[in-house]
Amino acid sequence: MTVTINLIGGSECYNSLLTPLVFNIDDIKKLRELGICGILSGTLPTASQQNIFLTVPLKLMVEEAIWLHIKGLAKFKVLRCNLLDSINEILEKDGEQIEKTAKLRLKKSFDLQREYKKEQHLLKLERLGITDSERIEKNVNGNDKLLEAALFIETPTTSNLLNNIHLSSVGWGISDKLLKILISQYGNWDNYLLFQALRDKGYVLAPGGRFGGKFIAYPGDPLRYHSHMIIRDALHYREQPIDFLELAANARLGTGVKKIWVIGSSTETDKGPTNNDKAIVDDNISFYSIEWAGFG
């Protein structure tokens, strides 16, 4: 089972990291079962300011994308930098074809619905005891207008256009290369190691900005549990002292929101991802959990 992660953006566009996005609902379900929740980021075109009802694409943290790829659960695809241009290009080239396909699909759906509705109607007449064939004929075919008005138009949950972007874009082969780009753009590799260690312990992680941390960690699905921990950016094992003012602030805040503040670092220092081609897996992480003692 592999899911498709689309990478979008990058230095040319926003002068920022590539953003990993997932568009496929089934993929999103699978990820959820794996404890990778991400954040739904799609909104309604007519109400682009609202942020309560959000839909695809699912935006993943960079750590989540790297973790999935290292575990062999995901492949990367690149969405070209400028999405609008890509869409225009596709529309120019394959627009007619796409429209034809869409119309055909709709027609097929209508045909099936008509057939079904007529069948149901006949069954109903039969139940009512109407057996006169002339009357039936009149009743069934005389209601065409009503029937047409009752047909449903199905709105697809995945985009045809995006599928076409994939077709016209670069293939699977560069997935590993993309991983390297993603990693090379990634600031502190130790943060990834922290993420990985916690994920492998079964915690579900989410961005921790709300609580002043790098991540927050849930003991299970975020819809079932409150988060337990606020995780700080990875510290350097030897060279970085714990800032006691920061500790006091975070431990007090954590106690106030029923969480514990977690700090950690990789005990194998100076071992970046570049030292090893096969994106290292390192579980030598030292964690400490800190909270207010309740007195003093």
């Binding site: 916690l198 312990k201 915690y203 337990h228 921990m229 510290l235 350097h236 094992y237 030897r238 060279e239 970085q240 002292p241 714990i242 800032d243 006691f244 003012l245 500790l247 006091a248 431990a251 954590g254 106690t255 029923k258 969480k259 514990i260 977690v262 700090i263 950690g264 670092s265 005990t267 030292s286 964690f287 400490y288 959990s289 800190i290 909270e291 207010w292 003692a293 309740g294 007195f295 003093g296």
Partner: protein, 127 residues
């Protein structure tokens, strides 16, 4: 300056005084084991709280048991240098093997002392 003067100026002594006379702990002592760390010698304190602390162990009768404390300085301009490596060493060398937490005792230069639980590893928050 006499040894006694020095002793009374140490943060270990400050924490001990606070625990005995302010928090009403019993059996508070400065541990003999010590760890040479950068410019300072780290010594832990041990003591028994008046009532069991959150997430703390108790003896079979429900009484509180010994807790370890790590005194550190929080000066306005220069704090102690305690890295994660240092915490690893403290748990390894100064605590009994099954110790799950120590209590960080931050001695401020305005005379206040605040206490924080530091658990080794990933730990659930208290109820």
């Amino acid at each position: 300056m006499s040894t006694r003067d020095n002793e009374e100026k140490s943060i270990e002594y400050a924490v001990r005084t606070n625990l005995v006379h302010f928090q009403n702990w019993s059996d508070v002592r400065i541990c003999d084991d010590q760890l040479q760390w950068r410019e300072r010698t780290i010594k832990l304190l041990s003591g028994v709280p008046q009532t069991p602390l959150a997430n703390g162990n108790t003896d079979p009768d429900g009484n509180p048991v010994k807790e370890y404390l790590l005194p550190v300085n929080l000066a306005q301009y220069k704090s102690d240098f305690i890295s994660i490596e240092c915490l690893d060493l403290i748990f390894d060398k100064l605590c009994e093997p099954d110790t799950k937490r120590i209590i960080l005792s931050i001695v401020n230069d305005d005379g206040t002392i605040v206490f924080y639980f530091v658990y080794k590893g990933v730990h659930k928050p208290k109820k």
